[in-house]
């Protein structure tokens, strides 16, 4: 994975420069905005969807237990 260079100890960079000068720069990602945000958006979507579906699955299982108990 390449060599690791030591370059920081604090939560900001040594030269204290910001990565982006404006939100627009941040959004553009140096021209690669589509790829970067496409990746992050899909990832977040997939994870959120999975979490939601898991929740629903659990709720459905609970409901099934309740129904079973009510009928007997």
């Amino acid at each position: 994975m390449g060599k690791v260079a030591r370059s920081y100890r604090t939560l900001t960079r040594k030269d204290n420069t910001m990565n982006w000068k404006s939100f627009d720069d941040f959004w553009q990602m140096g021209g690669y905005g589509l790829y970067v945000w496409g990746s992050y958006a899909v990832t977040l979507l997939v994870m959120a969807a999975e979490a939601l579906i898991c929740r629903q699955h659990f709720a459905a299982a609970r409901r099934a237990i309740n129904n079973l108990e009510q009928r007997t």
């Binding site: 060599k3 659990f58 108990e69």
Partner: protein, 253 residues
């Protein structure tokens, strides 16, 4: 008074009992979500605010902050899944098999994320949406192994047969993964030479590595949260005839 609500003994094998697992998992899930969100936020902050722009790949390289952790998780989860499935088969314990079954969809989804982000990283870096490099191809095959496991366990109605057949399949897959990976590596060098090499990630500054590690642990905690929840659902479904599950209908909300 539910006897199963008594405090568990200190032996960890007590959680082989579905009821104890169910209770413990229920208590742990919120904590894992919290860890996942905190580490995720930290990782994203370091990755975007602190890690510098790469000299060669520009800002497109920031995709690796999720691509690599997702790929790692997809491989780790397969091994963990195979481990628990095998344990469930060999020791004939239902809980281990149920846990393995809960892991599979999450592992498969991480594989999908790794493939998607791999493609989106490959396009600006190498010019094509899909490059048949060894690692992406192996990741694709891993997805097929996951889908096969899920398909087989879903197709068998009997819980015991489903669990044991799945375990055998997962073990066969786990044993084959090194063989497949090296075959694909060989195949890749035959056909493309070393022109496309996705291991040529940018020289990793400490900040980049930190962001990746933070997100890896975030994904790991997320996996726990989701898998434990799914396992609880599976436990409810497969143990629905038992006393303690029936009592849940009355006591829990």
């Amino acid at each position: 008074m539910n006897p199963h609500s008594a405090s568990p003994t200190t032996r960890w094998t007590t959680f082989a009992a579905p009821s104890r697992f169910y209770a413990l998992a229920g208590r742990l899930v919120p904590w894992f979500w919290a860890v996942a969100l905190v580490l995720g936020a930290a990782g994203l902050y370091v990755g975007f605010a602190i890690a510098p722009t790469d000299f060669q790949q520009g800002d497109a390289y920031r995709i690796i902050f999720i691509h690599v952790p997702a790929a790692w998780m997809s491989m780790l989860l397969y091994m963990v899944m195979a481990f628990w499935a095998a344990l469930g088969w060999i020791l004939n314990t239902r809980m281990a098999s149920m846990f393995a079954r809960a892991i599979a969809p999450t592992g498969a989804l991480f594989t999908v994320i790794a493939l998607w982000t791999g493609a989106l990283w490959g396009k600006p870096t190498w010019g094509a949406w899909w490059v048949w490099d060894a690692r992406l191809t192996s990741e694709f095959i891993l997805l097929l192994l996951y889908v096969g496991y899920i398909a087989l366990t879903e197709a068998i109605d009997d819980n015991r047969r489903s669990a044991h057949a799945g375990a055998l399949l997962a073990l066969v897959g786990a044993v084959n993964i090194p063989v497949i990976y090296f075959s694909v590596r060989w195949w890749n060098t035959l056909h493309q030479g070393s022109s496309i090499n996705m291991t040529a990630a940018p020289t990793m500054a400490m900040t980049m590595l930190t962001a990746m590690l933070l997100l890896t642990f975030s994904f790991w905690a997320y996996s726990f949260a989701v898998v434990l929840t799914r396992a609880r659902s599976i436990v409810l479904e497969q143990e629905s005839e038992t006393e303690w599950v029936r009592s849940l209908a009355v006591t829990e909300r």
